[in-house]
């Protein structure tokens, strides 16, 4: 465990050292939030609610997206693709560490910095919109939200590992990963609440782990899911996590067996 903590600590320092990259990443994310926030503001206009969301709830959803995006969607998929394609993965395979554990430690460091940044940005935006927001009344909601977000983040990490492992068999795994990431962001509700979509499409998405990654935690925060239902959905999310972890490890095992490297 200690070696993963050391990896986390070094990665944290490295992320903080690249301040211009971090600043630019955050500025880009902020542009998306301001854009969505303004769109929903204009859409709601003088209406008291839209699709069951009051003005405060809808705007809170957009701000929650900013926090969840920074915490959930910072994977290591592209780096794994690069490591396998370039052969760098060989040096990790001979070390006494689990690659997934090591990558998770690095990912958590990145998540820590991005989460802290997004909290500062969101606080500034909250000040800018002068309190027109929804805050949970029940303290348990905060705990449920945190657990849901943590599970979402782990599901994303292992899903990315799963898709990126395609690189063991083909040098063209970047395309499927790009496609997967884009689809996932929409299917997770990272741009808009999934209630907007037609019922058929919503039902289809409900049978996948994607809505649990942003849409579900955001609805928990907005107290639109009763506590008992939230617990049931959390257990489904945990089951999805288990399934994704097992699948990622299985595919990883197959990939490592088929992997071959030459040269030094």
């Amino acid at each position: 465990m200690r070696k993963y903590l050391v990896a986390y600590s070094i990665a944290l320092q490295e992320t903080l050292q690249r301040r211009s990259t971090l600043l630019m990443d955050r500025l880009g994310g902020l542009a998306i939030v301001v854009s969505l926030y303004s769109f929903w503001s204009a859409l709601l206009g003088d209406q008291p609610s839209f699709l069951g969301y009051t003005r405060a709830e809808m705007l809170t959803y957009v701000l929650a997206i900013n926090i969840l995006r920074s915490f959930v969607f910072t994977g290591r998929g592209w780096l794994l693709v690069g490591d396998i394609s370039s052969g760098r993965i060989s040096s990790y395979l001979v070390r006494p560490v689990s690659y997934h554990g090591y990558a998770l430690a690095l990912d958590l460091a990145q998540k820590t910095v991005h989460l802290a940044s997004s909290l500062v940005e969101t606080s500034l935006l909250v000040l800018a919109v002068s309190g027109n927001l929804f805050l949970p009344k029940d303290p348990a909601t905060w705990i449920l939200f945190a657990v849901a977000a943590l599970l979402s983040s782990l599901i994303f990490f292992f899903l990315e590992m799963l898709v990126s492992s395609l690189a063991f068999w083909t040098s063209e795994s970047g395309g499927p990963l790009f496609c997967f990431e884009l689809f996932l962001q929409f299917a997770a509700g990272a741009f808009f609440p999934l209630d907007v979509l037609p019922a058929g499409l919503r039902r289809l998405l409900a049978a996948t782990p994607f809505p649990y990654m942003v849409f579900f935690p955001a609805r928990v925060f907005l107290e639109k899911v009763p506590p008992s239902e939230a617990l049931r959905l959390l257990s489904i999310e945990a089951a999805w996590l288990l399934a994704v972890v097992l699948a990622a490890r299985w595919v990883w095992g197959l990939g490592v067996k088929s992997y071959a490297a030459e040269g030094g």
Partner: protein
């Protein structure tokens, strides 16, 4: 056709052909990227259509008008992606020393850096966008040829501003060998052009019109088509693109004069 134009057209055709062949070689990867781009287009279009099944207007615009704003953003963005794709590798070209070879060749290094790569996948994605714009033209109330001409002129003008931004990013890469994320900031800020600028608050609108002219690139053409853009703003848009292009070219020359090679 004068000789330099013909020569550059041949260089572009050759490099574009090579880039396309490379993309076609990686079929799985290219299919993934293409599918991802289509998914992004489909989901945003589904989102806008779904929104308008619940409301009649957003910021005073109908479904057809809002869709046209979105598609015009895509048109400008995709043209830039198709023709100016080379900038995405600018930092690598400089830091790995390839830029030194560009300087030795009997061809403008700026031309080589910006235009030397063509994304054929965006050509494929552009076709449905053009088709949908055609459908929307037919659905909007009839308008005069002057409005259509103004739309075409301001769309080209938007592409010229995007070109200026890409030149600035290329110049920064030559000057600093860093700022890899600069082009991604542009991409994220351009996200704000997906919606008409009227959805934003006054300060953001001002920024998007004068400081980071996303509105000039994406909102102005549609407003001109709808006949709601005063001619003074058309003049402003044309002056702005001339000024930004002139500044970008001056900055490029300045950065080039300070370049001392960064790799052996």
């Amino acid at each position: 056709m004068s000789s330099p134009v013909r020569r550059y057209a041949r260089i572009w055709a050759r490099t574009a052909s090579m880039a396309m062949q490379a993309q076609l070689t990686y079929r799985l990867g290219s299919a993934g990227f293409l599918l991802g781009k289509m998914i992004r287009l489909f989901f945003f279009f589904a989102f806008i259509t779904a929104i308008f099944s619940h409301v009649k207007t957003v910021a005073g615009y109908s479904l057809a008008e809002t869709a046209l704003f979105f598609l015009t953003f895509n048109l400008v963005d995709m043209i830039a992606q198709i023709f100016f794709r080379g900038v995405y590798g600018a930092r690598r070209i400089v830091s790995e020393g390839d830029f030194d070879f560009y300087l030795l060749q009997p061809c403008s290094p700026l031309f080589r850096m910006i235009f030397s790569s063509v994304d054929i996948l965006d050509v494929v994605t552009l076709l449905p966008v053009l088709a949908m714009i055609g459908v929307l033209f037919a659905r909007l109330p009839p308008t005069g040829w002057i409005q259509y001409a103004a739309y075409a002129l301001l769309t080209v003008n938007g592409v010229a501003i995007v070109l200026a931004i890409h030149i600035l990013v290329a110049a920064l890469a030559v000057r600093t060998q860093e700022l890899e994320n600069a082009i991604w900031i542009y991409r994220d800020v351009m996200f704000m052009g997906k919606f008409p600028v009227d959805v934003y608050g006054k300060p953001v609108r001002w920024v998007l019109t004068f400081a980071v002219p996303v509105a000039v690139m994406t909102t102005f053409p549609v407003k001109a088509l709808l006949g709601i853009l005063p001619s003074v703003w058309i003049a402003y848009a044309l002056a702005l693109s001339s000024a930004t292009l002139a500044f970008a070219l001056w900055f490029w020359r300045d950065c080039l004069s300070r370049y001392t090679s960064s790799s052996s």
